[in-house]
Symmetry: C2
Subunit: 229 residues, 2 copies
DNA sequence: ATCATGTTTCGACTATGGTCGAACTATGCC
DNA sequence: GGCATAGTTCGACCATAGTCGAAACATGAT
């Protein structure tokens, strides 16, 4: 019966509340210190330390030493993808977190999914891109069209650079809050970072929430209009 | 700190050796009885029963009553996707299963990945399809071309029927044994089932191994020639 | 040097949950 | 009806591992 790689090691790492909290915190995309992660997970520094050591040994996170701080981050987009997959499964099974906190509405509205935009606004952007032909869906996979390529350039991004990465340019990612898709891949990541550069939105430190300024939201809705039914 | 759906419930279910064995067995795509799964997992019937009850409560598997047997199957392709994702993580981290058993070479050669062909032959087929333009890669995603569509018809499948499903027609799936991609999606599933209909290959009951007949292998290699470097 | 802060190590406690033996229920066959 | 097989429930045992207190180890500031 032994066949295939050892799922159990990885899955068991994700199966503990403290570790899961740390990893979801890291889904924000930015690196966090051991102490911050301990607070985020609701455990003491000692226990957090042991958990972090395990996560690193399991290859799920990476460490970067900086002075007397140690910054932890997800090991890569594939880890984030598995986490989002688990969230979708849990959402489908109807097991939402025990107490939906005050941050929850903001998270449903706009949040980071590792390095791209998710939530209602993420879904709206994706559907707007598809609706007016900047993205085409081929076998349910998003593909950048010629008009889309022009838009990307106009937005201040270089398609060639984005394509040069190892990750695919476009990927659709199932949104656990909206049960619809949003845009991942290097294009998704590029668009989000460009929006922060332009001052449209701000990444709330210590959370996954993305806050849009008033002007930014107007610009966003002009660029990605909601298709009227 | 409570944000998002509860990953832990789902992940903890995958984090136990017995349950993970059952689920990987179900990756074969066919439904299995409680007893078969107990044997597959190496536990007694009692423990298996409790595990299966948990997996069903967690929404990872579904049950179908048939006489005095109960047939269990994965709840859907999304579950299979998460499992494959975990396998990729584990493979990258270098944690292969403790003892690669005698079945292992056969598994590396050709196996089912849920409902489509994986292993060396799966990778070979995928690369042959891409090499002669039956599949095109757009942003790393496989897309069926016009010549590909003709080939599918000639192979005895109806592209429209395949496209009518909820799942995408083509999906690439990272192969843990070959570290390259093979073809998933309804097309991947359709091709495998057609190969068994044609007598090219047989699905070994109780394992994920796919055995090709001598004639079948010859036909396979004629249809999907290995691109010479 | 001294102190403070961030992080890890050690040791002990505790609980969750995986395991099986035995008994019980349900279905099918004769 | 009686018997065999498939599956579940109950109860008890035991190990794994998550938890924290106390103390050690770093690094940076004064």
């Amino acid at each position: 019966m032994p066949d295939g790689p050892d799922i159990v090691r990885a899955a068991a790492l994700l199966g503990d509340p403290a570790r899961a909290n740390m990893l979801t915190a890291l889904m924000g995309g930015q690196a966090l210190t051991a102490g911050e992660l301990a607070r985020e997970a609701g455990v003491t520094a000692q226990t957090a330390s042991s958990h972090l050591a395990r996560l690193e040994a399991g290859g799920l996170i990476t460490v970067r030493q900086a002075g007397r701080h140690r910054y932890f981050a997800l090991a890569g987009p594939d880890v984030a993808a598995v986490l989002e997959g688990l969230m979708s499964l849990a959402a489908r099974a109807g097991h939402s977190r025990t107490r939906p906190g005050p941050r929850d509405p903001a998270l449903r509205r706009a949040r980071r999914c590792y390095d791209h935009l998710a939530g209602e606004l993420g879904v709206a952007m994706f559907e707007a891109l598809v609706a007016d032909g900047r993205l085409a869906l081929v076998d349910d996979h998003p593909v950048l069209t010629e008009t889309g390529e022009a838009f990307v350039r106009g937005f201040g991004l270089d398609p060639e650079t984005l394509r040069a990465q190892k990750r695919p340019l476009c990927r659709s990612c199932l949104d656990w809050s909206a049960r619809r898709s949003h845009l991942a891949g290097t294009l998704g990541a590029g668009l989000l970072s460009r929006m922060t550069e332009l001052g449209w939105a701000r990444l709330e430190p210590g959370s996954r929430v993305v806050t849009f300024s008033k002007k930014g939201l107007a610009a966003f809705e002009a660029e990605f209009p909601t298709p009227h039914p």
